[in-house]
Amino acid sequence: MTTRSRDRGYWVFLLPSFVLFTAVIVVPFLMNVGIGFTRWQGVGDPRWAGLDNYTRLFADERFWASFRNNVALIVAMAIVPTIIGLVLAATLFDYVGKKVGPRAASLLRAAYYLPQVLPVAVAGIVWGWIMHPQFGALNELLKLLGMEPRNWLGDPGWALPSVMVIMVWFQIGYPVVIFMSGLQRVDPALYEAAEIDGATWWRRFWHITIPQIRPEIYVVLLTCTIAALKVFGPIFVLTRGGPGGATLVPSYFSYQNFFEKANVGYGAAIATVLTLVIIVVTVFFMRIQDKES
């Protein structure tokens, strides 16, 4: 944390945020932590319950299962899209942009990003059609190729992998856009020098592109990991955590308790634990990043 001392006075710029954050995030979150120690139905007076919610939570098999499913979604929403996004962004920037033209590159980028624009409720309906066991496009295609049609979202063994594939589709555009805007900061002379030295495209990718946009890579990995920990909408519209809990995730689990079972206290406890996990992940990432810079 030791940097050469600059003149102070910069903290003034943080004031507006400080006020807003206290009101919108800090106070509500502390209230939520408090609710986690009560039995409450959302209206009326909460009753003090001490650690009851937490003892129940750690004994709850569904809670642990939901975290296991979450790990799979981190792979699908953070790790895979980051890798694919890097290759795509570099290809678009360094290859298509230069050899075919900037217009083609931005058109392709738009196509990859569009799924991010799709409201999640709509995406759920559409993927439901594509993966429909009886008339889904995917099974029709497999039948044409002489392969076995499957019950993608309805078979407990396939539901989670299917959701993972959909999430990759959903997420790819985001790293592509971030990495491409990061690549604009890179000095073109670096690439030119490497090309004169006869470095292959892969070598340039590995030795120039990746190191140059390292900050963006961290940003994408971290934000996508957290998005995966919070994932709610896609699960809600695709499977509702089913079949038989095979795709249950913590945020949907807390939602069920908040709005379907009117167990607001228990839901708050789940949300608190989830938040703590997120904080740990965040600190871990930031530490690494801080060391790097």
């Binding site: 309805g154 078979d155 038989g244």
Partner: protein, 433 residues
């Protein structure tokens, strides 16, 4: 940086815009001067209820000069999630549609968010119009359990689960409408032998669990329903009723009556595949009736009650409730009263709904007649058994997961029964807290 500044100024103007507007209606319940009745419901404009209630609004405005009705079509999800929050604020409407049952209307009544309608119900004779089994969902005790206590809602239509069937497919397979459970399974067998899966099912939503419940009801008597739904005695999940239901349901999947790949299908999938003529049978509720009537063009279809059962899943429809914070309660009572009037009830019946206080003679369409007569059969023989997901909040998801295990064969019927017993018992311990 001129651009940034204009941007900021523009946003400041927009925010000022966003802050005003929205709540610009002054609802002063002054006896003189113009008044408004704020009405919310979430039925489609083309549904039987939507049509009947639109007519009720017209009649209300005609009989209340100087009162305008401001109607807002709501989303089911929105009401389901935030009803408690809305009714706890001064944004509450004067009268609204709300779901019936312990987990919904019962919970809000217990929290003091709903107006007690008991005196209005006796004064205006609603208690005479509604049959005892339909009244069950209108009354809640101090624990929020339905069936006794004060009136907190008024249902003006009803619903029940039946068997929809494709007459052409039945003719082609040489199958008659079954009258006993044995004939029913024999019919299902005939279809399977001919290479068709007979029953359209949606396992990801309510349809599959309702079939499961119908099977349990085929072995059950009223005391069993009272125990399971109204907590009057112990609900035995390992008893003959549920055991039979789970075993038979799993067996039906094995025999091919129910498609093995239906676990992730939604109710919409089920309905669309029946309308498309892909399945000869659909077991679901009267809420499908209007849509089938509008969309089935290529074949003849009909309905019959689940063969051999004296009881069936079904109940009153959703309730009219008056929030405790409503500003014009007197107008709300008048409006509810109009929806109970004969001509509105008849319109509801002729549009494909199940009215609760109509003239049987005034229902002209033969299919609608059949629908209403079947309901009356159930209602007069005290055959409405409510729905399997009612007894505990959030029980719907539990049952969906349980029945999905039966469809996929991922758990034995014994394991599934244990799985659905646990949340039920947990809730039982919470009742009255």
């Amino acid at each position: 940086m001129f651009k940034v500044r204009t941007g900021v100024a523009l946003v400041a103007a927009l925010v000022a815009l966003a802050a005003c507007g929205g709540t610009d209606q002054a609802d002063t319940p002054a006896a003189d001067g113009p008044r408004t009745l704020k009405l919310w419901h979430y039925e489609g404009a083309d549904s039987a209820m939507g049509k009947a209630w639109a007519e009720a609004v017209k009649q209300f405005e005609a009989s209340h000069p100087g009162v305008t009705v401001t109607f807002e079509a709501k989303a089911f999800e929105q009401i389901r999630q935030s009803a408690g929050m809305i009714l706890n604020s001064d944004e509450a409407p004067d009268v609204m549609e709300y779901n019936k049952g312990n987990a919904t209307a019962g919970l809000l009544s217990k929290q003091g968010l709903l107006t007690d309608l008991t005196s209005e119900a006796t004064k205006r004779g609603w208690d005479k119009l509604l049959s005892p089994s339909v009244q069950t969902t209108a009354r809640y005790d101090e624990r929020g359990v339905m069936g006794a206590g004060n009136w907190y809602g008024v249902p003006n239509y009803a619903e029940y689960v039946m068997v929809y069937y494709n007459k052409d497919a039945f003719k082609k397979a040489g199958v008659e409408v079954p009258t006993t459970f044995e004939e029913f399974t024999a019919a299902l067998d005939t279809f399977v032998k001919a290479g068709t899966t007979p029953i359209a099912v949606g396992g990801a939503e309510y349809p599959a669990q309702q079939i499961f419940y119908q099977l349990a009801l085929s072995k059950a008597q009223r005391p069993w329903v009272d125990a399971f739904q109204l907590y009057k005695g112990k609900a035995d999940f390992k008893g003959p009723e549920f055991t039979y239901a789970a075993d038979t349901f799993a067996d039906w999947v094995k025999k091919g009556y129910i498609a093995k790949d239906s676990a992730a299908l939604k109710a919409e999938d089920m309905g669309v595949s029946f309308i498309g003529g892909k399945y000869p049978i659909m077991i679901s509720g009267s809420w499908w009736y209007g849509r089938l009537a509008a969309e089935i063009k290529d074949f003849e279809w009909g309905t019959f009650l689940w063969p051999g059962n004296t009881m069936s899943a079904g109940s009153s429809g959703n309730l009219w409730v008056v929030p405790e914070n409503a500003k014009n309660k007197d107008l709300a009572y008048d409006f509810i009263d109009i929806t109970m009037k004969k001509d509105i009830q008849n319109l509801l019946g002729n549009s494909g709904g199940v009215p609760v206080a109509a003239d049987t003679a005034a229902i002209t369409d033969p299919k609608s007649k059949e629908l209403i007569e079947n309901f009356n059969k159930l209602s007069t023989s005290d055959g409405l058994a409510f729905y399997p997901d009612w007894p505990a909040p959030g029980y719907y998801d539990v049952l969906v997961a349980g029945v999905q295990h039966l469809i996929n064969g991922t758990k034995t019927s014994g394991q599934v029964l244990d799985e659905i017993a646990a949340p039920y018992d947990e809730n039982l311990a919470d009742i009255g807290n």
